[in-house]
């Protein structure tokens, strides 16, 4: 592990978290609007939206650290015709620009509702293409541990899992803030927040289920393939086995066990404080777990050949 790999771990995690958060926020906002109207929906989501921007910008900045020549980074889109790395960088920058434009327009209520809506859809779509490009960067025929469907599946699961929990944390924080500022005036908000967290809990449990299925299947598949793929699998359950076990335990507790608690607490009014702590804890555990998972991803790939 060196600076370059730490930069890649942070960049991919941060970028995926921003995309996931953006998409999840969009869905929640859409549903909240139908339930409680535009004004309450905006109150729920506007502050959360502004939290995404810095995360993405930070991600793009650390990504520069892995280049030997950061000043020439603008040249990295020269080969969009055939290089997924070029496409990743292009869509990363586009996502930051379009998502940022939407965030500013939404915050300041610039432009018509329809126009903002269009921007949001566009940014979400670019974000999903970005995650697909990120996965494709690693789908090299000469890197068997990366060149499987587990790469795109787990990138998308990471995106959505971090997205739902980051937004869950943002909603409970926003709620606590509103409560403190205008005590007693947040009944509609309280209902919305609890409904949002309830759905977030369901999503987290489903997503962690997929992850707990894909990770062992991937290791078993590589082990069965033998050769260089088998050597990678051996690293995953051998040298890095403890980290892998820790990662799976953390994500199981964070998204699975706490997800169930979250769901239960979201159903019972008056437990908003507990709900807050649970959400923060779930987010923290899953963030650490996904970071460890990405660490293993970069630490165990082996190239075919000499």
């Amino acid at each position: 592990m060196n600076v370059r790999e730490w930069a890649l771990i942070s960049f991919t995690i941060l970028a995926q978290m921003s995309v996931g958060a953006f998409v999840v926020l969009g869905i929640v906002h859409f549903l909240a609007q139908r339930k409680a109207g535009s004004e309450e929906a905006d109150r729920l989501s506007d502050r959360a939206l502004l939290a995404i921007g810095p995360v993405m910008v930070l991600g793009l900045l650390v990504s520069l650290l892995h280049l030997g020549n950061p000043l020439n980074a603008y040249r990295a889109v020269a080969n969009v015709g055939s290089s997924w790395l070029s496409r990743e960088i292009l869509f990363g920058a586009l996502f930051a620009v379009v998502g940022g434009a939407f965030a500013i327009a939404q915050w300041r209520k610039i432009g018509s509702f329809a126009m903002r809506n269009l921007l949001a859809w566009l940014a979400a779509l670019i974000g999903l293409v970005l995650v697909y490009s990120m996965a494709s960067v690693y789908m090299l025929g000469t890197q068997p541990a990366w060149n499987t469907w587990a790469t795109p599946i787990s990138f998308f699961v990471t995106t959505l899992l971090l997205g739902v929990l980051a937004m869950g944390a943002a909603f409970v924080a926003n709620y606590a803030y509103i409560q403190r500022k205008y005590p007693g005036c947040a009944d509609a908000q309280c209902g919305l927040m609890r409904a949002a967290v309830r759905w977030i809990a369901v999503a987290a449990v489903v997503l962690v289920g997929i992850e707990l299925l894909v990770v062992p299947l991937q290791v078993a598949y590589l082990a069965a393939a033998g050769g260089v793929a088998g050597d990678s699998a051996a690293l995953m359950y051998g040298e890095f086995g403890l980290i892998l076990a820790l990662r799976l335990a953390l994500v199981f507790i964070g998204a699975g066990v706490l997800g169930v608690f979250l769901y239960q607490n979201a159903l019972s009014p008056g437990r908003e404080k507990v709900l807050g702590y649970l959400t923060y804890a779930a987010f923290a555990l899953v963030l650490v777990s996904e970071g460890l998972g990405r660490f293993i991803f970069y630490a165990t790939h082996l190239r075919i050949g000499i």
């Binding site: 030997g68 040249r75 020269a78 790395l85 070029s86 090299l140 000469t142 075919i304």
Partner: protein
């Protein structure tokens, strides 16, 4: 087919003296950490107790042979396909060259190339690799590795002519199968050579040598 220059390598003649590697380091002024051409020894087998003489061991299919390997200026260079800066390109004569002015030092080509050909220049933060001695070739001369080989185990030229002369083997262990990038190479195998991907031996060099 477009013109394609390439290497011929005779594994049955190579003695692993590394004269080619040294000549390459010298001509291209490479640091010890950067190796455009590497001689890799591959071997295997085991020792078993001699049933006739207690305490003595007998060789059981013990073998070793060596290959001298550089960039193969592939027909489908994965390095060039994935390079985000479009810094790697295939020339009219088939040579695959990196333009260091364009390279951003992302090292992605290193992950892609199955021959370990790209060599990162830490000092300049750019990627480098075997150029096929394009400067010498333009003057009608051989790459230095070819002329340095005391066993005359390396040749360089039009790959079609080399194939007509030496056949069509383009991979033996420890090289990868040719399917990934279509290397422009013809090999005369060693009598113990094993098929790529099906080898029973391992690379015997120190990791930092390869």
């Amino acid at each position: 087919m477009a013109k394609q220059l390439g290497f011929y390598f005779n594994a049955s003649a190579c003695t692993a003296c590394k004269a080619c590697q040294v000549a390459c380091q010298d001509k291209n002024n490479l640091s010890a950490a950067m190796r455009w051409r590497r001689v890799v020894s591959y071997g295997g087998g085991s020792w078993v107790p001699d049933p006739q003489n207690a305490g003595l061991m007998l060789p059981n299919n013990v073998f070793v042979y060596s290959i001298s390997s550089a960039c193969y200026h592939c027909v489908n260079p994965l390095c060039a396909e994935v390079c985000p800066a479009a810094a790697i390109s295939k020339k009219d004569n088939g040579l695959v060259l990196i333009n260091q002015e364009q390279c951003i030092g992302c090292r992605y080509c290193e992950w892609a190339c199955p021959y370990g050909a790209p060599a990162y220049d830490q000092a300049r933060a750019v990627m480098t690799k075997c150029t096929g001695c394009d400067d010498l070739v333009a003057q009608g001369k051989n790459p230095v590795c070819v002329d340095a080989c005391v066993m005359r185990a390396i040749e360089f030229g039009d790959i079609e002519q080399l194939r007509a002369k030496y056949g069509h083997v383009d991979s033996i262990e420890p090289l990868p199968e040719a399917k990934y990038t279509g290397p422009a190479v013809v090999i005369t195998p060693h009598k113990h050579s094993q098929a790529s991907g099906k080898g029973t031996g391992k690379i015997l060099n120190l990791p930092e040598e390869v």
